[in-house]
């Protein structure tokens, strides 16, 4: 096993014999203590934005509201990500536990699992589990029940405010922030939106305690994370690893011996070229959902970038100028450079454009395009031109 790579098995560890025991215990605990524990653990959201979970729940508890909502973001649309699928199939009770603890702490009575339409095949099994949860919650005296809301094929609905718009029966167009969902969310009420894995991790933190949990990972990024690994690897699948791992070690473990580039964080993340494997630590700065794709030397990075840009052009909600038009310009731009209609120097213009998109787009989708665009163009320039 490579040096910085530490595998652990917390999230998929089998259920304890008594389901929802952790939830039951938490319901008897002081709400402020639970929140403080979560803050102390340093747990950050596992969906992509990486917001400190304890803080989010703290705001949720402090915001006044006659009605509050918990939404589990299971829209998992980031290409290369499939960990939430596995969690919902194998350990859904841990998700609902996390949701239940959150509901107890902030005073919510209704929860939703926003399940992407592509995962509709698991609805029957999930509904069975949800029914069991709803009954158990009632038995415990927790006034909280969960329901599934199905998505309909829109990557942007993974963004929390777009998700909420979708649940309200509208186009999945992200809202202006502030106000944040915790103040003004679903139907204008205080709402906590967290990723599937975040709810599981929150529950683990409550079970293990902040001290134990923060022993894992690095100073900056605590705990463990699920990595969805795919591409040119002999070992694709979901792997739980401690954060702070070095990409070179990662490639040693999961590469096929000829790894040329690693895409960390899905298409909204960064492309690390071979020459930067050693110096790059995964987990410094926000990690986007843990999707990791490996490319070997047979792959054309131009083709990869084109695939990413086609994705963004299609999936952009279309509202804001920089994202709607910028994604199209980047795609047409690299094609123009490739076929000689524009000089190679135009790539610099495109990088500048992507930087402007990063700082002026309305939501994370437009803001993230520059990540993969700049990292691929800068590190694989020859492949863009010839």
């Amino acid at each position: 096993m490579a040096k910085s790579l530490r595998k652990i098995d917390i999230i998929f560890a089998p259920y304890s014999r008594c389901p929802y025991k952790v939830l039951e215990n938490c319901c008897k605990k002081n709400k402020k203590d639970i929140i403080q524990n979560l803050i102390d653990s340093g747990l950050r959201g596992r969906g992509g934005a990486g917001f400190p979970t304890g803080l989010k729940w703290k705001f949720g508890a402090e915001t006044e509201g006659d009605v509050k909502y918990i939404i589990c973001n299971a829209d998992e649309g980031e290409p290369g990500t499939f960990k939430d699928r596995k969690i919902l199939c194998e350990v859904p009770r841990k998700v609902f536990s996390g949701m239940g603890i959150c509901a107890h702490v902030i005073g919510a009575t209704k929860g939703f699992v926003y399940l992407r339409g592509e995962y509709k095949y698991m609805v029957t099994a999930l509904e069975k589990e949800i029914k069991m949860f709803n009954n158990r919650a009632q038995e415990m005296g927790l006034d909280f029940n969960i329901e599934i809301f199905l998505g309909s094929g829109a990557y942007v609905c993974g963004e929390e405010t777009a998700l909420i718009e979708s649940m309200e029966g509208k186009r999945g167009e992200p809202r202006n922030k502030p106000p944040f969902p915790v103040q003004n969310g679903y139907l204008g009420k205080p709402t906590i939106v967290n990723n599937v894995e975040t709810f599981v991790s929150s529950m683990m933190v409550c079970k293990m305690g902040a001290k134990e949990y923060s022993k894992l990972g690095t100073q900056d990024q605590h705990g463990s994370k699920l990595f969805s690994i795919s591409g040119d690897t002999p070992n694709p699948g979901v792997h739980e690893l401690e954060l702070g791992l070095n990409v070179a070690d990662f490639v040693e473990e999961f590469g096929d011996g000829d790894t040329k580039a690693v895409q960390v964080g899905g298409v909204a993340g960064f492309c690390i070229p071979r020459k930067k494997f050693v110096e790059t630590i995964v987990g410094q700065g926000p990690t986007t959902g843990g999707a990791t794709m490996l490319f070997n030397s047979s792959r054309s990075m131009y083709h990869v970038l084109q695939n990413y840009l086609e994705f963004f052009v299609e999936e952009s909600c279309g509202q804001c100028t920089p994202c709607r038009t910028g994604t199209q310009q980047l795609l047409k731009g690299i094609k123009a450079v490739k076929n000689g209609d524009k000089p190679p120097a135009y790539l610099e213009e495109l990088i500048k454009l992507s930087e402007t998109m990063k700082i002026s787009s309305k939501c994370g989708l437009g803001q993230s395009v520059a990540n993969s665009f700049a990292s691929i163009v800068e590190n694989f320039k020859e492949e863009m031109i010839y």
Binding site: P79, G117, L150, G169, K170, P236, M293, F311
Partner: protein, 154 residues
């Protein structure tokens, strides 16, 4: 139209006559009728008392709320990068040959529509595709064609 009205009323009974019910309503119509027609969207507008344009604007946003005619079985082949790397083009060719249609089209017997879609979350078992709600993974051109043949037998 009465069967569409029935579907709509059932959702309204479940969730109430409000805007939040729109997407569940559209999803149920697509589930039973495979896609949304002009008439069915008007019916939704009438029953939920929303403008027809808003129903259309909302439906057209979502890739799985088809507003173009679709067959009984909608095949969606994943085109995101990992599935692309692992051979989605061969799968597409094989199915185009088998069904005698191009991507984006529907067979004349209205049995199959062949579409491309973005990442469906099975990158570790690529290439993958959906046929309606069912997932098929680790496809080869041969297995993909066999799956279609089995559907014909249904």
């Amino acid at each position: 139209m009465s069967d569409v009205t029935e579907i709509i009323e059932k959702q309204i009974d479940k969730y109430g006559k409000k805007r939040e019910t729109l997407i569940p309503v559209l999803q149920s119509i697509v589930e039973k009728k495979h896609y949304l027609t002009e008439e069915s969207m008007l019916e939704v507008a009438k029953n939920l008392e929303i403008s027809a344009a808003e129903v259309y604007g909302t439906a057209s946003f979502y890739s799985f709320l088809d507003i173009e005619e679709r067959g009984e079985y909608v095949i969606r082949i994943c085109k995101s990068i990992t599935c692309d790397m692992k051979g989605k083009n061969e799968i597409i060719k094989a199915l185009e040959n088998k069904l005698k249609i191009k991507c984006g089209e529907t067979t004349t017997d209205k049995k199959f529509s062949l579409l491309l879609t973005n990442c469906i979350g099975w990158c570790d078992k690529s290439p993958a595709m959906l046929i309606n709600d069912e997932v098929y993974t680790e496809l080869t051109p041969q297995t993909a064609v066999k799956i279609i043949q089995d559907y014909y037998k249904k």
